[in-house]
């Protein structure tokens, strides 16, 4: 049996969760004070997810960087891979907020989209 400890982020309270696992299965969740916490604990133990935000080069843009984010959460373990993909590309202005920058990034089913409008320089 394995015990994992997490601080819940479902709400600002930050309950300290204990999740007991047998292999890949969750056996017990302790420390939560609501249903959302239970859900969070389960997810975090089996397949933790995160939202990701970063910036992309836009050489002809009003600013040299365009802020982007994942429209949905991605597996925590694959964050570095996604950051690599984001680092490797350049985009061209003008861009509109929510334009898709990288569709279905590394097969996660989640798009990386623009966080704001970015006009071209001048």
């Amino acid at each position: 049996m394995e015990e994992k400890n997490f601080i819940c982020t479902a709400c600002p309270m930050g309950c300290k969760l204990i999740v007991r696992m047998e292999g890949d299965e969750v056996v017990k969740i302790l420390g939560h004070r609501c249903r959302k916490g239970e859900t969070y604990g389960r997810q975090e133990a089996i397949a933790p997810q995160r939202m990701l935000a970063s910036t992309v080069k836009v050489p002809n843009g009003f600013h040299p960087l365009l802020p982007v984010y994942t429209k949905g959460s991605i597996p925590k373990q694959r964050i570095s891979e996604v950051l690599e993909k984001i680092r490797a590309i350049e985009v061209t202005a003008p861009i509109k907020a929510e334009d898709v920058i990288i569709p279905n990034v590394i097969g996660t089913g989640v798009d990386v989209i623009a966080s704001r409008d970015m006009p071209a320089k001048n």
Binding site: T55, K57, P64, L65, I79, S80, L83, E84, R87
Partner: protein
């Protein structure tokens, strides 16, 4: 940039700049070399900014002579060079009855030195002059000829006037050795090449001992740095208008509480002698000392309202008293040594060095005349160094006219101190140019307010990048090795995240 000059001044502090200004009046090619990225980066920009009345130095010392001679020169100088200067008078405040004899003694000393305009105040008068003064005050010496200035502006103004009159100022140029012809100095070796001159003047501040030793002059003369730490207070919270001295001790004039021409109040300096000439660090012990000293004069002063601190190293020398027979061995050395030709030697120009600078410059010229130099006044010598507009101090109408004249003055870069892009650009292209953030800060007072540069820093870096035509990675705070930016966000030198 040529190699042959008539005069070379080593050191771009206030004394070196003032000497250059005085020499630039005469025919002859003049070079001032300064090892840092800007002039005045030594104690010329880290002092109490006071133009002393002259009661403090020992009668018979060169310090006393220079101080009292120089003090009345400041009004004309401020008018010609257009730097901020005000005669506010200063107070030496006695706390408790036991300190009264000390300020009387100070007044007697002042009279001996020839200081005009001094008066004794009783306790009630002192309390009426300064509302928050320690209620235990027993009286004060009030010296009406005391003044305050912006010492860095003085340094810049003097250097710029020299440049306007044909002098060359080389920054990032460090003296390494003299070039000789027998016992005559004929030039200097620097990290940027050799320069020749008929006269070389040693005005190297804290390193003046090392320079004179290279000329074989006064091997027994040693400079020890005396560290002076200071606090600056938020002008919105603390408004001391007066210049308040405590009673002096053997360690010096003591920890002052004084207003400044930027309307900030400053507290300092303490006076601990250290070994390291590069140690401008602020210490915890120093901070405690400053607070104790400040509270002696103004008990209500609260450190919570401080917004910045700075440290200056005063070049304390062991020069003998100018008047022989007086037992005093911290006097100025200002001489044309007999053992070496073509060399003017200065050493140990600590307080009242800022005050004395114009008199010292005059003395240097006189010494050179006595040694046979025949000066010919330039027909087109211009004593005036024009001031530059300060948006922060202008009325609404003046600001409107300024913006109409040059739209860059409409763009405020430092919000706390109201410094505009027009002013920053003017300093970058001034006769003695500002090339680093701190250089601009010293000239415009930008970044010294509540946010301490938090808002203006990225914008100033961008303006410097543009105006100097360099990459942003070359912009520094105070010269090489103090750059701001390492690389573009998305370019990795080494590999990745995990």
């Amino acid at each position: 940039m040529q190699e042959k000059y008539d005069y070379i001044v080593i050191g771009g502090g206030v004394v070196g700049a003032m000497i250059a200004r005085w020499l630039s009046r005469y025919e002859g090619k003049l070079l001032l070399i300064e090892k840092e990225a800007d002039i005045g980066m030594g104690c010329s920009s880290a002092n109490t900014a006071i133009v002393h009345a002259g009661y403090d130095p020992l009668p018979g010392s060169l310090k006393a002579l220079m101080n009292v001679k120089a003090n009345p020169m400041w009004d004309q100088l401020a008018g010609e060079l257009n730097f901020p200067f005000e005669r506010r008078g200063d107070y030496v405040v006695a706390i408790g009855e036991e300190e009264l004899p000390l300020i009387h003694k100070l007044m007697d000393q002042g009279i001996k030195n020839g200081v005009p305009g001094m008066r004794m105040l009783d306790a009630a008068e002192m309390r009426s002059r300064e509302r928050d003064i320690n209620p235990e005050t027993s009286g004060a010496l009030w010296a009406t000829t005391g003044g305050i200035c912006d010492p860095f502006q003085v340094t810049v103004a003097a250097a710029e006037n020299a440049v306007i009159n044909g002098a060359t100022v080389l920054l990032n140029t460090k003296f390494e050795d003299f070039i000789w012809e027998g016992t005559r100095v004929i030039g200097v070796k620097t990290n940027r090449g050799d320069f020749f001159a008929r006269w070389v003047i040693n005005s190297a501040g804290i390193y003046s001992d090392a320079v004179m030793h290279k000329a074989g002059v006064r091997p027994e003369f040693i400079i020890k740095p005396r560290k002076g730490e200071y606090f600056i207070f938020d002008r919105a919270e603390v408004q001391i208008h007066n210049v308040l001295f405590p009673v002096p001790s053997s360690r010096g004039k003591g920890i002052l509480v004084t207003g400044t021409l930027h309307e900030n109040t400053i507290v300092g300096p303490n006076g601990n002698v250290i070994d390291d000439k590069e140690d401008t660090s602020m210490t915890k012990e120093g901070m405690d000392e400053l607070l104790d000293g400040a509270k002696k004069l103004i008990p209500s002063l609260n450190l919570r309202h401080s917004i910045a601190n700075f440290v200056g190293l005063r070049p304390m020398g062991n020069g003998p008293c100018y008047t022989p027979g007086i037992n005093y061995n911290n006097d100025y050395v200002i001489e044309v040594p007999s053992s070496v030709q073509g060399f003017v030697n200065l050493g140990g120009i600590e307080s009242p060095g800022l005050t004395s600078a114009p008199a010292i410059a005059e003395m240097v010229v006189d010494l050179m005349k006595d040694a046979g130099e025949e000066f010919v006044e330039k027909k087109d010598w211009d004593p005036i160094r024009p001031g530059r507009p300060r948006f922060a101090h202008m009325t609404h109408q003046e600001r409107k006219l300024l913006c109409d004249m040059d739209p860059r003055y409409g763009r405020v870069i430092c919000r706390c101190e109201n410094v505009t892009e027009g002013e920053i650009v003017a300093e970058i292209h001034a006769p003695v140019p500002a090339r680093t953030y701190d250089a601009i800060k010293r000239r415009t007072w930008l970044g010294t307010g509540r946010c301490q540069g938090g808002f203006d820093m990225p914008r100033v870096v961008a303006i410097l990048t543009r105006e100097l035509g360099v990459t942003p990675f070359e912009i520094s705070k105070r010269g090489e090795s103090s750059e701001y930016l390492f690389r573009p966000t998305k370019d990795l030198e080494v590999s990745d995240v995990n």
